[in-house]
């Protein structure tokens, strides 16, 4: 217990400090020439690589890093408090808090990174702490497998990230964000000119860097680890796999945004496509899942797809940059409501001891606080005004509409799906059938409900923050224009989704089965996550393990080592053949000796005389 309290107190201090920093940064220091400056708090050389390249560790403050500081420390504090109740009496409580603190440290380090290599360092560290936390219940084979999968998939993505960094740094000779993201960008001029297979080298490197981001942010097709990661304790899912770590990919793209927008528009187009596709893909799967945490996981993937899309359709500066602002805005509001959803789910699981929707129903009677906060979160994510999600989602839709309308219609449809699956979850758990519980579920303790309430306030009210004043692609304040036509369209489809969910799930009925039967093939495919897990299993198990590794091992043992042994055996054979000369027959030796002498004598006689 002591470990938890220490961790929480320290994190409380950190939260206060980050709010203080934010206050200082936004309001006391204020703007210079209408834009917030990027301040490098300190920056020390950590490792020298070449004459020009060195890895520094430092603190960089600019609007997005300050924003992320707030998000990370707030959510992390809430999760720390929540875990005091949720993890009470668990085996390895101290270990849990140690890992949680390690994660928070790494995430904060990532957020304030001054250069891309520092980001990579902390990026790996968040990956490792995520691995440790997913595998927290290490006696459970599924948790072990999930943690392994999460690490390896993100590691594979990080390979792209690393190679991207290597390419970028080779051509620019710097890791520094300040130099790289400078819009006038002298350092990028040469690299943008060098091309390789049709694309500039810069675009290649930015695509590879995005691959790292896609891995962490669970973008298609590297999304498969995130649903499995739900094997970790639920507060961890709230912190790492909903609010903070998985948006690191978005943050990475936002961090490098000037480079993407000005120098590598091709890679930005890829980002937009991947984001849009992922959001649709994940939303469809979310409609069919029954494990409440998995529904939330797919919902997270879908929402991050929104953020990526928003970045993908944005341009640098002015009205074109509204997608950037929208993305960051959605990141913040999403952190609030998704953390809330997960913590609410944790509270439900805590009470019911099951993850399956089938075991739940009518819980609103037993757990009023959870029910109300959960409802707020659902309304927020579905984009019902005046909750936070409405505003941020609306900005994304508007940005997509002005840039590429096709993406707008996709996302508009996904918004409907979002409302549908969220309320499917809500009605299924809190309304729906009357379930008989063996142990009567009861409301969670205060340490768990307080974070719920705090986050509910955030999820309800965060939308009124004038986000454009603080965060924009070029640092200049930017007024988010409110589009009534888009807003009404999105409210319409959200309500439609909500209504459909209510019709199907508010009361117990056979309607869901009928609908599912109507889409039979598609439903089954979606239920099995479009067989992506099987595909990955095939690649890792059959191809890497059985087609590469085992034949190589055989080759090593039998061919390479066999060759070495063959040399040894040949020498042995030779020795066996030669040893016959040592017959032990004294007279034979003497005969050889004498004939030798005779031959020598003859030679000497013939040649010397």
């Amino acid at each position: 217990m002591v470990s938890g309290i220490i961790g929480t107190l320290v994190l409380g201090t950190i939260t206060v400090l980050s709010y203080f920093t934010a206050w200082q940064y936004f309001f006391t220091d204020g703007k210079v020439d209408g834009a917030y400056r990027a301040i490098t708090g300190f920056n020390h050389v950590w490792l020298t690589l070449t004459e020009s390249l060195h890895i520094d560790l430092g603190v960089l403050l600019d609007p997005i890093s300050v924003m992320m500081l707030l998000v990370v420390s707030t959510i992390s504090l809430m999760v720390h408090i929540y875990s005091l109740g949720y993890m009470k009496g668990e085996d390895g409580f101290y270990r849990y808090y140690a890992f949680l603190s390690l994660f928070t440290f790494s995430m904060l380090g990532l957020v304030v990174a001054t250069n891309i290599f520092q980001m990579y360092i902390f990026w790996e560290l968040v990956g490792a702490s995520s691995y440790l936390l997913i595998g927290f219940y290490y006696k459970k084979p599924s948790a072990v497998a999930a943690s392994k999968k999460a690490f390896i998939v993100t590691r594979f993505a990080d390979l792209g990230f690393l190679i991207g960094i290597l390419i970028l740094s080779f051509f620019t000779g710097t890791f520094d964000f300040a130099a790289l993201t400078n819009p006038s960008g002298q350092v990028l001029g040469s690299i943008a000119g060098t091309s390789f297979i049709g694309l500039s080298v810069l675009s290649w490197s930015m695509i590879l860097i995005f691959m790292g981001g896609a891995g962490k942010s669970a973008m298609f097709p590297l999304h498969i680890w995130l649903p499995d990661a739900m094997e970790g304790p639920t507060p961890v899912s709230a912190l790492i796999h909903a609010a903070t770590m998985v948006v690191a990919g978005v943050y990475l793209v936002a961090r490098m945004f000037p480079v993407y927008a000005i120098w590598a528009p091709e890679s930005l187009a890829i980002i937009a496509f991947v984001g849009a596709f992922t959001s649709l893909f994940a939303a469809v799967i979310a409609c069919t899942q029954t494990d409440i945490k998995r529904i939330l996981a797919y919902s997270t993937i879908s929402q991050i797809g929104y953020m990526m899309l928003a970045l993908g359709v944005a341009g640098y500066g002015g009205e074109a940059g509204s997608g950037f602002t929208a993305s960051m805005f959605h990141l913040t509001t999403h952190a609030m409501f998704k953390a809330l959803l997960f913590l609410g789910a944790g509270s439900i699981i805590h009470a019911v001891h099951s993850n399956e929707m089938g075991d739940m129903g009518s819980l609103r009677k037993y757990m009023p606080v959870t029910a109300i906060t959960f409802l707020i979160a659902c309304l927020s994510i579905s984009g019902i005004p005046p909750f936070a999600g409405f505003f941020s989602k609306d900005e994304i839709l508007a940005a997509a509409y002005t840039s590429q309308p096709i993406y707008f219609w996709v996302e508009w449809f996904v918004a409907g799906l979002t409302a549908f699956y969220m309320f499917r979850l809500y009605f299924g758990v809190f309304w729906g059938k009357k379930t008989e519980y063996k142990h009567k579920p009861k409301e969670a303790p205060l340490s768990m409900t307080i974070p719920l309430i705090v986050l509910a306030i955030g999820a309800a009210a965060a939308g009124f923050i004038p986000f454009g004043d603080f965060v924009s692609s070029d640092g200049l304040a930017h007024e988010a224009s409110f589009h009534w036509n888009i807003a009404s369209l999105s409210i319409l489809i959200a309500l439609a989704g909500l209504a459909l969910a209510a019709w199907l799930y508010l009361r117990e009925s056979s309607r869901p089965e009928k609908v599912a039967a109507g889409f039979k093939g598609f439903y089954t495919a979606a239920y099995h996550k479009f067989y992506f897990d099987e595909l990955y299993l095939f690649i890792t198990k059959k191809i890497v393990f059985e087609l590469i590794s085992q034949p190589l091992a055989w080759f090593d043992r039998h061919i390479v080592d066999g060759f070495m042994n063959l040399i040894g055996r040949m020498i042995y054979r030779f020795a066996v053949a030669v040893k016959r000369f040592q017959s032990g027959q004294m007279q034979q030796y003497a005969f050889v000796f004498v004939s030798g002498v005779v031959v020598l004598a003859l030679i000497i006689l013939i040649w010397w005389t």
Binding site: K139, R155, I163, A553
Partner: protein, 499 residues
Amino acid sequence: MGLLLPLIIVPVLTVIVIAFTRTQHQTRMTAAIGMGIQLLLSVNLVIQYLLERKTGNKAEMLFRKSWVWFDSLNIKLDIGVDGISVAMILLTGIVVFAGVFASWKVKNLSKEFFISLILLATGVFGFFITIDLFVLFLFYEMAVIPMYLLIGIWGTGPKEYSAMKLTLMLMAGSALILVGILGIYFNSAPDGGALTYNLLEIAKINIPLPAQRMFFPLTFAGFGVLSALFPFHTWSPDGHASAPTAVSMLHAGVLMKLGGYGCLRVAMFLMPQAAHEMAIIFLVPTGISVIYGAFVAVSQKDLKYINAYSSVSHVGLILFALLMLNKTAITGAVLQMVSHGLMTALFFALIGMIYGRTHTRMIDKMGGLLKVMPFLGAAYIIAGFASLGLPGLSGFVAEMNIFVGAFQVSDTFHRVLTILAVSSIVVTAVYVLRVVARLLLGPIEKAEYEMIEDGHWYEKFSTGLLIVAIAGMGMIPLWLTDMIRDSLDPIMTKLASSI
């Protein structure tokens, strides 16, 4: 006496004292004290070295001392160190000290065991401080030969076979090295004058190009055998699998680094033109080592085999980096020597301890051990993280130097190889996590494993020491990299002058 001579004298004295001890406890205490002094001497050497450099002493080698040993052939016991050898000496000091504690419970013939072990260590220390090629070779042999006894007598499994194979392959390597060294010696005075074995003297002249072309491949391949260069790596899995714990630690941790060090100090430093010409040829097998070792490790079942193949991959990376012939990559190579030395020693120490408890090394027969041995399990996970290059641990620092350095060479051939080598980090993650999952996590496989105790004090001490070193190097790498970078200057000048 200076700072360097005690590094050879202390182990020899320890051996003599051990020869007179009576009980097992006396033996191991003597060994521990002797090697403890040795570690202190190494640390002191590092400090003195850094202080001396700070005063502005720019000599290539510091703390030079010289004694004539065999006048007519101009063989001298000529000692001196630069940053690279200082780093390697520190590594050896740590690993040997940890190794003594890892073999605290050697049952039979413990006196003879420690004598051989420390003789081996003497050879390694001697190798790193000497700058006379002949004496260097002498110490090299002194390090290789006790290995035969150590594996053949105290090993497990098919120990005679493994010991024989390892020794014979390393001897074949030494034969190549000897030819190379003699070749260098007889070409050390192309303009007439006295022939010399002295590294620094030879570095001042240019060995004629035909001689370089002839002796560079011999020397490089000879030292390469010791660094498990593909396809001469097969002694490593068998040898490591059969060797007792401390020997595996010392062998994979330090002895394999002798190869990399020799390649750098003897082959590349003295024959730079040939190095430039032939780097491309040797890059192919090193590149294969890196990726091939990693892939083979994925499907192994025996913990020691996994680690041996992982060593093939990681040590392959050392040679790979050396052949990139630029400062960053070579710094990375030296860092990788230190880093891999520490983490592989930790791995082998832990494997020995696990084997002592479960009596099997097959990963599919184990499971859930983290619950019964949290300390050793956590240590294993840390070692695994270091191996897959997690920032904050030593592997990351080394690998990033290597990758960034390798990426500075910009033709397509090097690029492709570099990217292949970089992708080994994913494969590494696969096999490391596979082992961790099978071995430590999940439900406990057998009821008898419930009885397993966590590490004893000496085991905790041994692993703790290595973990501190790994984390220390991973978190505060700058002093070490600067020390190595500065010392690389003469080598880089020599390499650059030959283009």
